[in-house]
Each structure stands twice: as structure tokens, then as C-alpha cells.
């Protein structure tokens, strides 16, 4: 597989480490009333789509960027690659 790194261009997948569903960016608020339930869902419940999937890849043998890769799980077609930091900010994460 080849991942088109937004900063470095196309890189072989062997340079990357896979983590999983990009929903891991959506870490719940620890002070919310339902924090325990929310963290349980965050930690353990994942969708398993046959088709488009947003997932986290880490350029471990490269520039150490975390990326959000949108990949079709049935064809491995990669339709989008973004810096995870940009995605996190777009999802409202800050400090």
C-alpha cells in the first residue's frame, strides 16, 4: 500500500504503524456526568464498516506525523489523507 502523506508525498505503508479507527480522536470529557459510560464506548466500541473507513496511521519510520487515512476496507482504495492534528482541530479539540 502507498499512503499519500500530505507533507511528504507518497510513502510506502511499511513506514507506518496502524492504530485503528479515527474515532479515537474523539476522547470524551472526563468531567461529564456520563464520563464512565462515554469512556467505555470510546475505548471499546468500534464500527466495522465494509467500505469507507477513517483510520489513524503513524509515520513512525518517517516524520512522526499521525495521519487520518480514509480507506475503503473492501478495496484498500485511499481517498483522503489528512494530518490528524488538523482533523482533531476541525473536530473541536484544542488543549
Amino acid at each position: 500500500m502507498i499512503i499519500n502523506h500530505p507533507l511528504l508525498g507518497p510513502r510506502d505503508a511499511s513506514e507506518f504503524t496502524y492504530l485503528g479507527d479515527a474515532s479515537l480522536i474523539n476522547r470524551p470529557d472526563w468531567q461529564a456526568e456520563d464520563a464512565a459510560e462515554a469512556f467505555y464506548e470510546y475505548g471499546y466500541l468500534r464500527d466495522n464498516p465494509a467500505g469507507e473507513h477513517q483510520e489513524l496511521w503513524y509515520h513512525e519510520a518517517g516524520d512522526r506525523s499521525w495521519l487520518v487515512v480514509t480507506r475503503d476496507t473492501t478495496t484498500h482504495e485511499i481517498s483522503k489523507v489528512e494530518l490528524a492534528r488538523d482533523v482533531a482541530r476541525a473536530r473541536g479539540r484544542s488543549k
Binding site: M1, I25, W30, Y40, Y44, W66, R85, K95
Partner: protein, 981 residues
């Protein structure tokens, strides 16, 4: 011996004669031969014995699809089993042995299996070796293992080197037959970066096997001229002897180049094979097609071959299997073989064509509407029995029979990403389907274009289309453009022992039987009968078997479907996949800066991840590792010891939000840690389990140095980057791994300060008052050398860790040893380190095993509830905080000499010993030379409240039961007075 079956012509170098051996007989051949063609030229038809029935077998084909002609090549540690004689390039001194026969090829004792064939039909392993169950391991399996299997292994390490490489191109063309060569010419002339790969050592594909012309040249001359033109183009790379084995995601292809298989002795330093990863913008499959057989009674005798193979051997290799041949065909292509053999002076007894309207020929007899119903010849074909349309039979005396059942496009690579081929009625074959790997197109016979003219044209057009070239109609040479004329015909009615898959001894009867027994899916058929398995993967047999299965099921062939094609296209040695990653080179070995110093001291090393760490330092006279380790512990605790801890992960954390950031990744607080102080940090996973521990030293308001355990250095760094980039993207914090930048040494023991004072520059006060426990700072040593000093202790003694830039690590270690002589300083290794941390009750890797919480380790109070940190919420899950959860305890045997076994389980003194009564387990164990007792650490239910309790330590695996006492985990200096001294 003379080459009695050598014909005229061919693309062999008759000016050179080479010698080779088969089953210890000497023969001669010429460069350009394969082992297969050379054996035929020397009138050797019998090459091996079959897998199950041990029937005599010869060559079936002239290519990589060969099921029968597999041999062991070379000898000694270079012996290579299951190598196809049909693709083995001849060289002087080649040695080959036949396989799967005992005591000899001509008399094989297990040939008796053939007489019991009724009992060895489809699924016979499953049916026969069913009971008693106890017989499986001791009786059945050893018998099957000995009788089955093909070649044998040398049982020695392969001495040759294998390599891996990477290549890039605009267009990869797979196969250098007419379509591939024409595609390469088109793309190369247009200036594209082209790789043309072919498994053969000679480019040209079928062009080398045919007698017709291309333009005004013979087809092989045209191929040679095309190759010459391509060789002159700097943008074209020709890869001969290179099999493209798989089509992978995003235009990546795997290829195996046999760089050294065709020479007697590899040049020094050269690899035998190279596994290439080829990155392509576009790829074009020009893999051609494979002729398929027709099944009839006893169709597996040596001498019965594919008709196209006979033609290849005659035209390209100037060899024939016999001077008397017959052809059995359902199509016009079979007649082409007869004509070519006749032209070479081989006697064609007859062409047996199943069609009533077979083409007529006046040079030899054509039997229209006829079928081969049986053959004779124990070790090689002697007679063919033919049923004529009028019901009579005729016997032909011949030594070779060419069989042609039509051609199957080589669609394999088009299916490597789950694409399915589609049925083409005109060809009676599968052709590539619509779902090809992205970027791949198909041309020539692989795409069902069977004429030479069609192949040239489709190659040119496909290359132009792939590269989006706007060239006018390509100029093509004139070539043969015959239409396909055939009548689908799979097997002769009424045959019983008619082989489909000769490599796995699967017959027409087996396929029918398997269907009757309920194996209706082709995938089940394959597993039950083993059809299409092993080294040839059914390249000659799959389609015929499908056709028969479809017939039995009353379905069409496309409804029956195919099995899935998977890489590799042809077998690849494990050595090739391993490349250079074997033995010591399996993974990188990381050495610390003082490694060679430790080697001089005869250190025994242990692998920790990729690192080599000194485990202990034996002195002359010490015969047991315990003597060395006990001494290192005693001397450190009595005076001073030095341990290399460079391998600990080191992460530099800088930025205005550095303290906030550490507050998130560590369960305990860091916001209030003053500059010049170090704090133990406990890192949790988000699920509440302990991930790692280490220390964080605050060197400035916005600068921390964090350590991790050796084993988790990579994971912790990755995790911290995840937290920084994905969870808190606006924090002003930067991370960098500095593990390799600093050499770090623990200096531990009551005299550690005195030793360090000898090397720390005098302007830095490291007295207890000025540099207290958990202090840290930038200092200089040895007259101005930059260093970092941390007053932290893993051993429980007064201790420091000192770090210097890596290049000074070796010198610092030597200086510490020299300056420490007056204190009787001792270097200690990881064993002594482990003993001392167990004595002190520090958790380490054995305790941080991924299933323990802070509470389990007695560190529950460290998890701050006043801030957001990774894992704090889920660490409070109900089951993790129940009153009787496992707690870290110390374990001491009642008799000090009794062994404590890590992994042993703790049971109450009375009651059953079983999982239901399990109370906990031992995580770490050591002999303490300070307490003169074996000791251990363990996790025990409600352990904190069970101090002083007697328990049984059991290890059912090693039949061990020891009476132990539960004690505090802090065996030495529980109050921590030494630390602060």
C-alpha cells in the same frame, strides 16, 4: 552419451557442449537448453514418481506450469527440492536427482500404492486414518509424512545470500511474448520508464517456439531484434529470469529475479535471488496462455505431453521426446504441432482429432472424430489405443503423444485482488474479468487474443492506452492471424484412471466422487481432492476439473466458478522472502556506547528488544552466574556499583505547555514539580491499565526529560505523539526521542556520591544538602564535559544516574572504573539490577504486564483525581477496584533455600489446587544475597491485608509445591533511609 533425440535448428549454442548429471548419470547438453529439454534430447523420458501412487512420470510441459517434472537440484547444503526441470536453465556441472522414489526411479517400492488405488481415492486421508485417535500422532502421521511429500530437504542452512530491492516505473510489462515486446517497444519509443519482466531466460515467449514469420523475419528473429532495440533504450529495463509473483495494492508488484540459479558457482557477494518490490504507475499483463490437456485412460505415462510443449522442444530446443509421435487434439493448434514435428523429421504416426471435420493433411494421417481411449508402456509410452468413429479401435506405436485441449489465458494476476475471471464461450476458457487491480490492463493471449497478429496489436494499443499516448495507428509487422477453431472437449467418456492433476494424483473419478460425497463448492473440491494444490497450483488441471464438476452438477462452468488465485504465481523459496533478514541480521542489533568496554570485561550479554545489555560480569574463577550476580549485588550495596542504563527510553519534552502535557500522559501530577527535581511517573493506557513507568526530570520551566522502560521506549513515544497531535493539538509542546543521544549510567551504593565527586567538576555541589534525593540538573564532568545528573534510585541505595553525550559514554565508563578503584567499584549487569529492584519491591516489566492497574501495584494513590489524565476514568471501573483485587506482595519461602518460581501460583495452605481456588501468582523471583534467601514478588488477592500469612506456592508444570510467607514487597530498607543518605 549421445543426444539421440536432438533435432536440427533451435536456439541452442551447439558450439558449446556442457555436462550435467541426472540421478548420477552423465549427459551432455548445450547452453540454451533447460534441464527438461536436455533430458529429452538424451532420450530420458522418465523423470519422477507421482505423489500418491508413485506412478512413473515424465515432463508434461515446457514451462513454469509443469506438474510432473520436478527434481532436486544441486547437492549438499545447496540441495533444492521441487525444482521444475522445464524452467531450470542448463549450465556446465548441473546436478539433478529425481524425487519421491525408493530405492530407484525405475523400481519404486511404493509403486505398490498404484495397485491399491481404490483405497486411495479422494479424501482417503480423511476416511482411512480416522481411528483410534491415539494412533494419529504415533502411527498415522509418521507413515503419511514419510510416504507423502515430494522432494527432501538438505536439513542444512542455505549458504547463499538473497536480497531485496525496490524499483519504480511508469509501466511494468509482465511477460515478453509478442504482446509484451510490442507493448515495450511502443512505450519505450515514447520515452516512458518501462520495466519488461519475463520468467524465462530468453525473451520472446511463444515467438521462440513457433515457425511462422513476423514481418519478413522468423518469429524468434523478430523477438531478438525487438530485444536488441529495447536494450538500446536507456528508459527501458529488461528483467529476464524474473517472475512477477503478485499484484498488490496501489500498483505495487512483487517479483523474484533468479540472479544466480543459472550458474554453477555464484560470484562472491552476489545474491542467488532478489525479491523486488516494483512501484508502478501502470502495469500491463502480457502473461500469455497455457495449453490444457484432455483427460483419458492412463494419460500420465512418460512421453504424453502437451502438444505445444512438444512444439517448443522441437522448435526452440531442437529436442524431441521420441522419434515417433502422435497428436491428440480438439483444435487446430494441435495440427500445428504435428506439422512442425513433421518438418523437423520426426515421424508423426497420426493426428487424432475429436472433431469430425478435422483439417486434412497429406504428410501424415489424420483420424477425424477419433479419441484416445488407453495407452501402454510401464516406464514410458509405447502404444496408444484409439477409438475410431466407426466403433473400431486402432493401436499406434509411438513414444510421445502431444495432447491439446485448447488454451487458458493466464489470468492469475488479474485475480490477486479478488477480481473474478469471466467465461468466454468462443475460447471455452476464463478471461480477465472487469475488476482488475487498479492500474492493470491485460493484452495478448492473457486477454484471450490468441493470434500473433492480435497479440502484437493489443500489446501496442494497451501500452498506448495505459500511458495515454496520442500516437497514430501503430506500425505493426504482419503475422499469423488464424481464428480459433476448437470443440470444447475435456475428457474421454468412460475413462476411470484419467489424470487431471498429475502433481497431486487427482483423476476424473476423484472429482466425480468428491461431488457425489457432497463437496459442491469448487473450494471444497480443491481441499477434499487436493486438486490444484502444491507447486504448480493446478495451472494445467483446474479448468478441466471445473468442467467435469460442472457437468456432474448439471451446471455451466461459469456457474461452477473458479477457486481464488493467490500470490505467488510460481513457488518462491522462503530464503527469498527472508532476504538478508536471517540469523544475526533478523533484526538490527543495538549496542550501547560502552558495549566494547563491557566485552573487554567478559560480560555476558542478553537481548533486550533490539539491544544487547550486559547481564553480568564474570570474574576469573567464577563458575556459576549466581556467583557473579551475588557479588555484584553485595559490592554495590556495600560500596558502589555502576550499571549501563543507556537503553532506557529518553524523551525530551519542551514547550510552554510541557508540564500540562505530562499531566495528561501521566496518572500523577507534574504541574507543581519544581525545576531541578525529578518525579516518578506512572503512565496508564486509556483502559486504566498500567502502560509504563519512568521518571520525568524538570530541567527548566518548559523543559522535561522523560525516561521510559527499555522495552516500551518506542510504544511510549508513539503514544505521547498520539496524545500531542490527536488529542491536544493546540498544546505548545514538542517531543523528540533522545535515547541514542545520551549514554546513561546508574551509579549506586553508599559510596556513589564519593565516586561521582571525583569526576563532577568542583563548581557543582552534589552534597546531600545541595543535591537531595530526586534532584536533577545540568552539570559538567571531567573538566567541562556537558552532562546531566539525576539523583534517582532503582536499587534502593543512595544512587545517581549520570548522562553524557553518547560519544563520551565509553570514556566515562572507563573513568568511573578507574576513579572507583579506591572504593572497590563493581560494574553490574541486568541480573544484579533485577535482584536489587526485587529486594526493593520496585515493579518492572514482569509486573507491568498489561493486565495490572496502579491499584494492583500498590500505586493506586498516584492516580490523581484532580486532573484529566489518560486512563484515570476507566481505572475506576467496578471490577478493577473491588476490595479483594490483586495486590503486589513480597514472597519468602519458609525455608530460605527453597526456590520461588516466577509464574507459580499462590494457593491457600489447605484446599484444592485448581484454577477456582487460585489466589494469585508470582511475577518475579530472585535469590537475595543480602537476605540469604530466595525471594519473590507476586500479585495476591487482597494481598495488602494478608501480610504474614502462610501459603502454598505451586507450579503444576514443574511439580513444585513450596511453603511461603506473604511479606511486604520492600525487603530491603523499607523506610527509604539509604535513598536519602
Amino acid at each position: 552419451m549421445t543426444q539421440s533425440n536432438r533435432l536440427s535448428g533451435g536456439q541452442i549454442d551447439r558450439n558449446t557442449t556442457v555436462n550435467f548429471q541426472f540421478d548420477n548419470h552423465n549427459y551432455t547438453a548445450h547452453p540454451g537448453d533447460t534441464l527438461g529439454s536436455a533430458l529429452l534430447a538424451n532420450d530420458v523420458r522418465l523423470i519422477g514418481r507421482s505423489f500418491k501412487y508413485h506412478r512413473p512420470r515424465g515432463l508434461l510441459t515446457a514451462g513454469s506450469e509443469e506438474p510432473n517434472g520436478i527434481v532436486e537440484l544441486r547437492s549438499g547444503n545447496r540441495q533444492e527440492p521441487n525444482t521444475r526441470a522445464t524452467t531450470t536453465e542448463m549450465f556446465d556441472g548441473l546436478e539433478a536427482q529425481s524425487q519421491n522414489r525408493w530405492p530407484s526411479l525405475k523400481f519404486d517400492a511404493l509403486g505398490v500404492n498404484d495397485l491399491f488405488s481404490n483405497f486411495l481415492s479422494a479424501g482417503f486421508y480423511y476416511k482411512t486414518f480416522m481411528w483410534p485417535a491415539a494412533f494419529w500422532e504415533k502411527v498415522y502421521e509418521p507413515i503419511i509424512r514419510r510416504a507423502a511429500g515430494l522432494g527432501s530437504l538438505s536439513m542444512e542452512a542455505d549458504p547463499d545470500e538473497y536480497d531485496k530491492g525496490f524499483r519504480h516505473c511508469d509501466l511494468l510489462i509482465i511477460g515478453a511474448g509478442p504482446s509484451g515486446l510490442m507493448a515495450a517497444l511502443t512505450a519505450g519509443r515514447a520515452g516512458a520508464d518501462v520495466i519488461l519482466a519475463d520468467e524465462d531466460f530468453r525473451f520472446g515467449g511463444r515467438l521462440n517456439s513457433e515457425t511462422f514469420s513476423v514481418g519478413d523475419q522468423s518469429s524468434s528473429d523478430w523477438a531478438e531484434q525487438a530485444v536488441a532495440e529495447l536494450s538500446s533504450m536507456p528508459n527501458v529495463r529488461l528483467m529476464a529470469r524474473t517472475t512477477v509473483i503478485g499484484a498488490f495494492d496501489h500498483g505495487i508488484y512483487g517479483a523474484v529475479e533468479r540472479t544466480g540459479d543459472h550458474v554453477a558457482t555464484l560470484p562472491a557477494g552476489k545474491p542467488r535471488q532478489i525479491l523486488w518490490r516494483i512501484y508502478t504507475k501502470k502495469a500491463l499483463l502480457c502473461a500469455g496462455s497455457t495449453e490444457r490437456p484432455i483427460a483419458f485412460e492412463n494419460n500420465d505415462r512418460p512421453g504424453i505431453m502437451m502438444a505445444s510443449a512438444l512444439r517448443t522442444y522441437a522448435n526452440r530446443f531442437a529436442a524431441t521426446a521420441s522419434q515417433r509421435v502422435a497428436i491428440f487434439t480438439n483444435n487446430d493448434d494441435g495440427h500445428r504441432t504435428a506439422a512442425d514435428l513433421h518438418a523437423k523429421g520426426v515421424h508423426v504416426c497420426a493426428v487424432i482429432d475429436v472433431r469430425e471435420d478435422a483439417p486434412v493433411n497429406y504428410d501424415y494421417e489424420v483420424l477425424s472424430g477419433a479419441q484416445v481411449v488407453n495407452t501402454k508402456g510401464r516406464l514410458g509410452l509405447t502404444f496408444v489405443e484409439v477409438a475410431l468413429p466407426d466403433g473400431s479401435t486402432r493401436t499406434l506405436e509411438c513414444g510421445a503423444l502431444g495432447v491439446s485441449g485448447g488454451w487458458n489465458p493466464n489470468v492469475h494476476l488479474t485475480c490477486h485482488q479478488r477480481g473474478r475471471p469471466v467465461w468466454n464461450d468462443d475460447l471455452a476458457a476464463f478471461v480477465p474479468g472487469p475488476n482488475l487491480p487498479v492500474g492493470l490492463t491485460v493484452a495478448g493471449a492473457a486477454n484471450g487474443v490468441m493470434s500473433t497478429q492480435g497479440a502484437l496489436q493489443s500489446g501496442a494499443e494497451a501500452a498506448a492506452a495505459a500511458l495515454e499516448l496520442s500516437v497514430a495507428q501503430p506500425v505493426l509487422p504482419e503475422a499469423e492471424d488464424a481464428p480459433i477453431a476448437q470443440k470444447p472437449f475435456w475428457y474421454v467418456e468412460g475413462c476411470k484412471r484419467a489424470w487431471l492433476d498429475q502433481q497431486n494424483d487427482v483423476t476424473v473419478k476423484d472429482v466425480k466422487l468428491s461431488y457425489q460425497e457432497g463437496f459442491r463448492s469448487v473450494e471444497h473440491l480443491k481441499r477434499y481432492t487436493t486438486l490444484g494444490m502444491a507447486t504448480d497450483q493446478g495451472k494445467t488441471s483446474n479448468i478441466s476439473a471445473l468442467a467435469i464438476m460442472a457437468e456432474v452438477a448439471g451446471k455451466s462452468i461459469p456457474e461452477t466458478g473458479t477457486t481464488i488465485f493467490r500470490p505467488p504465481y510460481t513457488p518462491v523459496p522462503i530464503s527469498t522472502f527472508a532476504g538478508r533478514m536471517k540469523g544475526q541480521e533478523f533484526h538490527p542489533t543495538r549496542l550501547t556506547p560502552s558495549h566494547y568496554w563491557a566485552k573487554e570485561r567478559d560480560a555476558v550479554f542478553v537481548e533486550v528488544g533490539n539491544w544487547l545489555r550486559a547481564q553480568w560480569f564474570p570474574l576469573p574463577g567464577e563458575t556459576h552466574w549466581r556467583e557473579s550476580v551475588d557479588r555484584e549485588v553485595r559490592q554495590t550495596r556495600a560500596s558502589v556499583g555502576v550499571c549501563d542504563c543507556t537503553t532506557l527510553g529518553k524523551i525530551d519534552v519542551q514547550g510552554a505547555d510541557a508540564a500540562d502535557f505530562l499531566n495528561r500522559v501521566y496518572a500523577n501530577g507534574f504541574a507543581k514539580l519544581p525545576v531541578g527535581k525529578t518525579r516518578y511517573g506512572l503512565m496508564l493506557r486509556e483502559d486504566g491499565m498500567v502502560m509504563d513507568d519512568g521518571t520525568a526530570a524538570r530541567l527548566a520551566e518548559d523543559h522535561f526529560v522523560v525516561t521510559t522502560t527499555t522495552a516500551n521506549a518506542v510504544n511510549v513515544y508513539r503514544h505521547m505523539e498520539f496524545v500531542r497531535q490527536c488529542l491536544f493539538p493546540d498544546m505548545d509542546v514538542q517531543l523528540i526521542s533522545t535515547t541514542e543521544s545520551w549514554a546513561q549510567y546508574a551509579v549506586a551504593g553508599p559510596n556513589s556520591r564519593k565516586l561521582l565527586q571525583k569526576i563532577v567538576d568542583p563548581e557543582f555541589d552534589i552534597s546531600n544538602h545541595a543535591f537531595p534525593f530526586m534532584g536533577c540538573g545540568n552539570i559538567t564532568v571531567c573538566g567541562g564535559l556537558r552532562a546531566r545528573l539525576f539523583r534517582i534510585s532503582f536499587s534502593g541505595e543512595l544512587a545517581f544516574e549520570i548522562a553524557v553525550p553518547s560519544r563520551h559514554g565509553d570514556a566515562l565508563m572507563r573513568r568511573l572504573m578507574a576513579e572507583g578503584e579506591e572504593f572497590d567499584v563493581v560494574p553490574y549487569g541486568t541480573e544484579a539490577l533485577g535482584v536489587m529492584r526485587i529486594e526493593k519491591g520496585h515493579a518492572a516489566g514482569n509486573e507491568l504486564n498489561g493486565t495490572t492497574t496502579a491499584l494492583n501495584l500498590g500505586l493506586g494513590k498516584m492516580v490523581s483525581k484532580k486532573k484529566d489524565s489518560i486512563g484515570s476514568t476507566l481505572s475506576e471501573r467496578e471490577a478493577l477496584v473491588e476490595p479483594d483485587v490483586l495486590r503486589l506482595v513480597g514472597i519468602k519461602p519458609v525455608s530460605p533455600e527453597e526456590k520461588v518460581t516466577a509464574g507459580g501460583h499462590l494457593m491457600n495452605t489447605t484446599g484444592p489446587v485448581d484454577a477456582a481456588h487460585d489466589q494469585g501468582y508470582v511475577t518475579s523471583a530472585a535469590y537475595s544475597p543480602i537476605l540469604n534467601s530466595n525471594i519473590g514478588l507476586g500479585l495476591l488477592k487482597d494481598g495488602a491485608n494478608r501480610m504474614g500469612e502462610k501459603m502454598r506456592l505451586v507450579s503444576p508444570l514443574t511439580d513444585l509445591t513450596v511453603e511461603v510467607e506473604i511479606v511486604s514487597a520492600h525487603f530491603v530498607d523499607p523506610e527509604g533511609e539509604r535513598l536519602r543518605a
